[in-house]
């Protein structure tokens, strides 16, 4: 049974909540404590919620094509707030125009996200990623503290 707190939400001026809600339900069913911020969430609100609830991961959804602008500096915000080790995932329709998935993924990895989910990613895949990444993150965080 996995444990830990996870923050979810749809970033920026984006109202597409359905996918995020399905993901939230899957996470809860899998035993995570989910802080669901819903639609229209500014980047800073994800970070504030994660600080207060000691979340292990932030899962950001963006469906309206502006994600690249909204997510810029997200990792820096986390570092600034003392969340050096937190896992960051992003998923959805992440860019506008014709760009290969590899290129899109690279863009977001370079921004400091740990996982980038293309459209159509199933929630099971996200659960698998978390099962792998959360324990690794925790041991990394322990090392940081020592």
């Amino acid at each position: 049974m996995p444990s830990g707190t996870i923050v979810t939400g749809v970033i920026g001026s984006d109202t597409h909540i359905v996918g995020n809600r399905i993901l939230t339900m899957a996470l809860e069913k899998a035993g995570y404590k989910v802080v669901s911020l819903g639609a229209l969430t500014p980047a800073a609100d994800f970070v504030r919620a994660a600080v207060e609830t000691r979340a292990g991961a932030i899962l950001v959804s963006s469906l309206y094509g502006q994600g690249e602008l909204d997510c810029r500096g997200f990792r820096d915000l986390c570092t600034e707030a003392g969340l050096e080790d937190i896992l960051l995932y992003v998923g959805g329709n992440l860019v506008v125009g014709k760009r290969s998935w590899a290129e899109t993924e690279q863009t977001y990895l370079a921004m400091g996200f740990d996982r980038v989910a293309p459209p159509g990613t199933r929630s099971e895949a996200v659960l698998e990623w978390l099962a792998q990444d959360l324990p690794a993150m925790e041991s990394r965080a322990k090392k940081h503290k020592m």
Binding site: T5, S13, D14, T15, K33, V35, A39, L40, R48, A49, V51, E52, T53, R54, Y64, G65, Q66
Partner: protein, 469 residues
């Protein structure tokens, strides 16, 4: 006769209200100076003599209850983790308990912060931080820092429940009171337990520490800080009869606004930020009729004040300077009265605007979305004015009407069509005290003494008192 004496040990005056609990009427009022810094009994005796002069021989009172804002009020420092989250929740809890906030801190306390807190010499420190199961490190760091400090005041812990045991050890050298987390889950406010804890610390310790209990022969109990009594009075009339209310109290140093209303967004509007408490108090430290007259002018703009008062800007400046220097001055000349009126209108308008929420339109690719910050108080049933400024005013309606929504500010969620009521005898605080022992009599007394300003001059309004909906 079954009667009660309600006492307010204020910062400037000791005020008394004697009420007849059976006839539900005010027997009389009395006032003396505030003498808490020397001997509180002097002011109390003067107030009692004043009351006796006006009301005749006093009955044996069944209850003698007091509130206090003397000796600087209940001075509090609040500490949380994230400024917009647990630090804000702690602030709301302290304000709701009737405190005067002298400092608010967030994140890890530094040595410099601790020096500041020690220098502020608060009566109580409220320590929050972390949701239950959330961050523990910061609240424990802060508990350790407070535990090792020279601070002597009681500390109320309302942080992460999981860190409470460790915090208890860290604070073992202090008087520490443990209560529920002000934010048990992310974005869930639970401020009532902290509010109750602060109030009991106030009754058990602060009343003694401030020397108020030296007048103990004259009263049975000091029940709460005065701002909390006004808030309880507001809650009483709202829940008992009037529906949702907003109370505005422009004073010499600050303007308080209380609302008892859910304030939830209209359908289709998206709420943002922390959920709002149904019973909410805000204090505007820069809006006062005397000590802070200059900052009222600054906030409203001197041109607006001068135009509203119908006097020149130079004269406004001169008069304001005089007011700030002589805080107890009562207006004499026509121009002084006009300025007082304009200052009160500005203070009420700005304080209510800050208390109420706002709407903002966010443009998304799927169309515009309306977002709300704060409470939507457009549908509030009644706006009540209380305090000396409004009671003494010749045109309280003109002052109170500034609390209403204005077509020029369509995004401010101020009351649209409430009844405008005036607490002419300053009885709301007294009924807030009385409700702790006689809720039914307190409610009827409060309602009987609210004047409906829209019906005041109507021939059929017998006394203009207010009846339940």
């Amino acid at each position: 006769m079954n009667s009660a004496l309600l006492i307010d040990f204020g910062s400037t005056y000791t005020k008394l209200r004697a009420v007849d609990l059976e006839a539900r009427r005010l027997i009389g009022s009395g006032q003396g100076p505030s003498t808490v810094t020397t001997d509180i009994n002097v002011g109390m005796r003067a107030a009692l003599e004043d009351l006796e002069r006006r009301a005749g021989k006093l009955p044996r009172f069944r209850y003698r209850l007091a509130s206090s804002s003397a000796a600087g009020g209940l001075r509090m420092v609040t500490i949380g983790l994230v400024r917009e989250l647990t630090a804000e929740a702690a602030r709301q809890a302290a304000l709701g308990a009737g405190a005067k906030l002298v400092g608010t801190f967030a994140y890890r306390l530094t040595e410099n912060d601790l020096e500041k807190i020690t220098a502020l010499a608060p009566d109580i420190v409220l320590l929050a931080g972390g949701t239950d199961g959330g961050n523990m490190e910061v609240v424990l760091h802060n508990a350790a820092a407070l535990g090792a400090s020279r601070l002597a005041c009681p500390i109320v812990y309302a942080g992460n429940r999981g860190a409470a045991d460790e915090a208890r050890r860290l604070l073992s050298s202090k008087t520490a009171i443990f209560t529920e987390n002000v934010m048990p889950e992310f974005n869930v406010l639970d401020i009532e337990p902290a509010r109750a804890a602060i109030r009991s610390v106030f009754i058990e310790r602060i009343v003694h520490a401030k020397g108020i209990d030296r007048a103990a022969a004259e009263f049975d109990a000091v029940v709460m800080p005065t701002p909390a009594a006004v808030l309880e009075g507001a809650r009483l009339v709202a829940d008992g009869a009037l529906g949702s209310v907003l109370v505005v109290d422009p004073g010499g140093a600050t303007t308080d606004v209380h609302s008892v209303a859910p304030g939830e967004p209209a359908p289709g509007v998206v709420p943002q930020g922390l959920p709002e408490p149904r019973v909410k108090r805000t204090v505007e430290g820069d809006l006062g009729m005397r000590h802070n007259a200059a900052t009222v002018v600054e906030a409203a703009g001197i041109a607006a004040i001068a135009a509203d008062a119908g006097i020149g800007e130079e004269e406004v400046k001169a008069l304001v300077k005089n007011l700030t220097a002589n805080a107890e001055h009562l207006p004499v000349t026509t121009n002084e009265k006009a300025l007082d009126h304009a200052l009160a209108r500005a203070a009420v308008g700005i304080a209510v605007q800050r208390h109420c929420g706002t709407l903002k339109t966010v443009y998304t690719p799927t169309g515009p979305v309306t977002v709300q910050h704060g409470k939507d108080l457009r549908r509030v049933d009644a706006v009540i004015g209380t305090g000396g400024v409004l009671a003494a005013s010749a045109d309280a309606r003109a002052i109170l009407s500034r609390a209403l929504a204005d077509a020029r500010e369509p995004l401010a969620l101020k009351p649209v069509a409430p009844r405008l009521l005036l607490d002419r005898e300053y009885l709301l605080y007294a009924c807030g005290l009385l409700q702790s022992v006689e809720p039914h009599a307190a409610l009827e007394l409060a309602l009987a003494n609210l004047t409906d300003l829209d019906r005041e001059f109507a021939p059929d309004a017998a006394g203009g008192s207010v009846h339940p909906r």
